[in-house]
Structure formats: C-alpha cells, structure tokens
Symmetry: C2
Subunit: 380 residues, 2 copies
C-alpha cells in the first residue's frame, strides 16, 4: 500500500472509531449491591484508607497501573509544532500501544500551553492519579528542563520517550547491527544527525554503552567546541562528543563514518552522501513519517544495515520496543526513576532477543510477545 492509500485508510479508520481508546469499568456495575461497593457508601472506606496512608493508593486505586501520556504538541513526529489537538491522535495511538504491548493503562493528555513553567505546573498538578508520566513530542531544548524538574519532584517514573525510548531502541539495534558488520562500539565513528531530544539522549546512552567517537550535527552542521553561537545545551554536547573537534557539513561528518543515526527530518541526504561512509555502513533513518533517506536509496549508496522508524520497512527502530516494557517494569517493581543503568539494561535485553542478527533482522518484531516482559524484567 502506498502512502496516499495508507493515509486514506488511516483517516477513514480514525473517523469510524472517533478516538482510539475507550474507558471501561474494571468490574461490572450491574445492580445496587455492586454500586454500594464501587461507589457510595462503600467507596468512602477506601477513600478514608487511602487519604490516611497515601502509599496504599498504588494498591487500591488506578495509581498502581496508570500512565499519563502528555504532550504540548510542540514537536509531533516529524511534523513539527502542530499543537495539542494535532498531537492527540499520536498520543491516543501511544496509549493503544501501551495496552497492547505491556498491559499498561495509559491516557493521553494534550496541553493548551507550550510554556515550560506552565507545562511543569500542569503535569505536577495532575500527577496524583498516575503511576508514571510519559512525556511525548515536546520540543528540545525545553524538554530537558521539563523532564528533569518534573522527575526531581515526583516519586513516580517520568520519561520523555522521544529521548530515552529512542535512545534505548537505537542502542539495542546498534548493538546487533555492529555484530552483523563485525565492528565494535568503542571503535566506530558514529554520526548523529539531529541534536534535539532523540539525538541528545541517544548520544548520551551510546557513550554510556562505550561509544567513543560520536559526531553530532544540527541544521548548521557539525557541533564543535569552537563553533560560535552555541546555546548551553549544544555547548554541553560539544564538550563530550566530537573528540577531534571537527567542523563542517553532514558530508564532512559522513566521510569514513561507520554509523549514521538520523533523528532530524525528512529527506536529509541521498545515496551519494552514503557513499562517503566506510564499508559495511549502518544507517538508521528514523524521522517519521518520512525518513532522512529511504531504505532503497541508502542501500544504493552502499549501506549494509538500514533501519527506519516505520513499520512498513525491515528493521523498525521504534520506541514501541522499549517504552511499554520500561513502564511495565517500573510499575511492577516500584521503580521511581528511569536511570541510565536501567536504559542500558533495557537495550541489552531487547538486543538479546535476536541472538543471531542479520542485515534485515537486528531487532525483535514489535509484536514479539517476549519483548515487553524482557524489558520489564531488565528494569527491576
């Protein structure tokens, strides 16, 4: 099915459904006896118990199972700043995946503000009912501060999935792709096109996993320590990436590179650019819905392992392999922070599900029922 056909079918499905999630009672309310337990007068005993000992909320209310998927719509998929209602179909889809892949109950909240302080205040204000907060599609660099400050205050896991979900799955895929091409994490030259949420978190996690030669680019080019006008976030990136302090364009960066990780936008490069890379190059072109380079183009340029963010090509590098299991594990095991160590363990747990990776099979299928339990176990 081509894009236009798929789009039509997606539009028609969404209109028929009128929203992709439903709320149902966990127990039937059939009669007055049920009602006197689920609602008044019985519920008063539960309310008093939980009010008196707030920790019991995890056992007696939805707090023990419910995750909020929250976006301000400022960086939705690869579509940019399309606002709260534009973000809503994506957040609903994410909630459907949470349930499908890890039996996590998740609800979408899209915010009528894009102001950092107001986003933080709003998330903190609605937090009590939730056992986890999945931040989603919030633009960089404000996403870093928002995640950190919310996470510092709350005693539930808070994860900006565009950062850490992506980072975990990229690392999982890269671990196996490197096996396919017989190269080592500590020796490869890794080019990350895109210094936003995903690119930054990916670089950090790859470094934690042993990568030593990471070159990052934004729209202006390679991020180097002597580039004028860098903001605080990019100055920080420059301080621990780009070991030889190179500067220049994407093409300069790609010369001899072993890995290109695209977390930027559609149609960034061509097969001619890929030809600049080292032999047995790995290309993950993850912009959604249109990747930085289409897989056939990347292969034409000589790439050996190619992944995208899409479900209609091989090697889907999709957060859905990570976030459901991460939150499932956090809810199950009372984990209150998603640490770097947890992310490393989650990535290796995903990679381990494909013990003999090939160029067209570096990651488990998203519908592989082993994935979420394996990730949840790693989170413990």
């Amino acid at each position: 099915m081509n894009k236009s056909q798929n789009d039509k079918k997606a539009l028609s499905l969404h209109k028929r459904l009128g929203g992709k999630i439903r709320i149902i009672p966990a127990a039937p309310v059939r009669n007055r006896a049920d009602l006197s337990l689920v609602y008044t007068p019985g519920v008063a005993a539960v309310s008093m118990l939980v009010a008196g000992n707030k920790k019991l909320a995890r056992d007696y209310t939805i707090k023990g199972r419910m995750v909020a998927v929250i976006s301000d719509g400022s960086a939705v998929l690869g579509l940019g700043n399309i606002g709260a209602l534009g973000a809503l179909p994506v957040m609903e889809g994410k909630c459907a995946l949470f349930k499908t892949f890890a039996n996590v109950d998740a609800i979408p909240l899209v915010l009528d503000t894009q102001d950092t302080e107001k986003i933080i205040e709003t998330v903190l204000a609605v937090a009590p009912a939730f056992g986890g907060i999945n931040l989603e599609d919030i633009a960089a660099p404000k996403c870093f501060e928002i995640e950190k400050r919310i996470s510092d205050v709350l005693d539930i896991p808070v994860m900006h999935d565009d950062q850490h979900g992506t980072a975990v799955v990229v690392l999982a895929g890269l671990v196996n792709a490197l096996k396919v091409v017989s190269k080592k994490m500590s020796q490869v030259r890794i080019v990350i096109a895109g210094a936003g949420a995903a690119g930054t978190a990916t670089a950090k996690l790859l470094k934690a996993a042993g990568a030593k030669n990471i070159i990052m680019l934004d729209r202006t080019g390679i991020i180097s320590r002597n580039r004028p006008g860098l903001d605080g976030h990019k100055k920080d990136l420059a301080s621990w990436t780009n070991p030889k302090n190179e500067s220049g364009s994407l093409q300069d960066a790609l010369k001899g590179a072993d890995v290109l990780l695209g977390v930027s936008g559609p149609r960034l490069c061509t097969s001619a650019d890929i030809k600049l890379m080292a032999k047995k190059a790995i290309v993950f072109a993850m912009a959604n819905p249109t990747p930085e380079i289409m897989p056939d183009e990347a292969k034409k340029g000589g790439a050996y392992v190619v992944g995208t963010g899409r479900s209609d090509f091989p090697n889907q590098i999709n957060n859905s392999l990570a976030f459901p299991g991460i939150f499932r594990g956090a809810l199950d095991h009372g984990v209150t922070k998603i640490t770097e160590k947890i992310k490393l363990k989650a990535a290796h747990a995903i990679a381990a599900l494909v013990p003999k990776p090939t160029a067209n099979k570096i990651l488990p299928d998203m519908f592989d029922k082993r994935v979420a339990p394996a990730v949840a176990k790693a989170v413990r």
Copy 2:
C-alpha cells in the same frame, strides 16, 4: 449487609481490582498493517488534518467522547477535605458509572492543588483532549468561581456535578414527591439544610421550577438578610430566598415546613425535629455516606416521603440519574453550556419516567436503561 461488612467488602474489591477503570484500544493492534494505521505513518495524516481544522477533533479523536472527572479532593462525599488521593476512588467510581449508564468514556484527574487559580489553570491546560469537564467534590464557595471561569473560557460543557447533578435529581424527586402528597411547588415551604455547592444549586433550580418559599440554612442557622457576617455568596442567597426574612435554628425553620432537603452532613436532626414539620412532609437526607437522618428515624417523625443519597434505601436521590445522560446528550448534540433550561428539562425527563409515583418510588431506578437516553434527549 451492615456498614462494616459492606466496607470490608468494598476494601477487598478495590484491592483485588487495583483501580476501577481500564483503558483499552478501540481497535486491535495485531500487526504492522494495523500499526501503520493506528500509529506511524498513517496517524500523521490524521494529526495534520486535525491540526489544520480543530473542529474535526470531535470526529477523529477521543475529544468527541471523553469527559474528565476532576477533583481537588476538598469536599469528598460527606468526608470533607481528604485531598487528591482520597478523592481518587470516588472519581474512579464516577467514571465507571459514566460508562455503565451512558457509554461516556470518562477519566479521573485528581489535582495536587486546592488553590482556585491553580485549579482553573490546570483544568484549562488539560482541556483540549476532552469533550466535557465534570468537576467533582470541590468545596464551596470556591467551586462557584472555578466552574464559572472555566465554563466561560471553554467551548465544551463544564458542570460541577455536586451542584447541578444534585439539583437536577432533587428537582426530579421533588416533582414526584409533591405529586404523592398532593402539594404544589409554588406553595410549599422548602427548608434546605446546607448552603454549599449542592444546596445553592438546588435552591436556584427549584426557584427556576416555581418554588417561592425556600429557607436556607448553614451551620450558623437560617440565612437571613439581617444576619451579620454573611459572605458574598450567602448575601446573594439571602437576597432571593427566605421571603419573610426569618431567622433562627433548623428547628425554627422546620416548623410547618413541607420539605426538608439535607445537603449538609451526617446526623443533623432527629425524629423530634421532623415532628415540627407539616403533615405529609417530604425529607430528602442526602449526606453521603451517612445521611442527615436515617430513613426509619424520619418516618418515625412523621415524614411521608423519604429519600437518601444511598443505594441501600428506597428513593435514592443520586446524581447518577442525571450526570451520565446530561454529558451523553451534550456530547451527542454538540451542547457547549449546561444551562438552567437544560437542567429543568433533564429533571422533568427523569420525573416523567415514574408516571405514578408512590411514597417509596418517586424516582426511576438508577439501573433503568431508559434514564440516560431520556435525559440525553432532553439536553438536546
């Protein structure tokens, strides 16, 4: 089953369930084909469509079906200010009732703030995903300002159910109770014990329905125009209730009264007090979970028609008869404000479902499947 047994059973049920609602996908996500419609890449077409024309969110997202049940936990049932987590079991129950009675998808949000301005900001910030806002268990008098200011800004129905749900069902019950005792709304003396959210909205709606002799009381006694120290809200009440400007205690008010509406707290009065009332008195004792007077006590005092808020006595005066159908109707018919006219129509629609009321049957059963559709139709 006595209260203590019911409480135990309620606690045990809540612990077993771990929360009373679940989120499920509206369509299965079984494979990559499903995923490419529900999520990327297909969802991008839906996001762009909705971002470009926000009115379409009602057709293509959960906005067309989803209500937020929001509380700050400041006035939960009759339990008082027990905070966000104490409120959560009640809000979950309410969401279960929304689905059970009117197929409305509702989610609970409990707020980690009790500040008027912050509550308003938070509700406005999370509003985009919702087609309606049910405010719940927020203390008076701040509930009046909160509801009004949120309702003024949003183009979706906003209803503080403690006010208007109660008012609608009380009016419905009173219309039929007056039939039972052959008295007229315009002629009866109505005592409302409680000048909070429920009492105030009930008084307003009864006045709109033709009641001319309403006496309101708070903890201090009858609210009269010459009582010193009244706040703005109570001054307003004094200006259009209490036609003879009486003052005194509950007992003073009850002398010769035809109707006592209790919306205050547990064990307010005794059978001796009810004996002060006129013949064929009507008593609705609606404090939850413990009413102002137990039904057998009220009958002992001579009350002819007795209702409570509870499901384990006859004549349950419970908002569940109103709120599911009101929001169902508002969602179905694109109603953006719950006006006084809508509430009157809803109350008469409920009353009309019991064409021949008796002392023990003034209202339809909450499980009568005709109720929500009848109310929804009246909302149109």
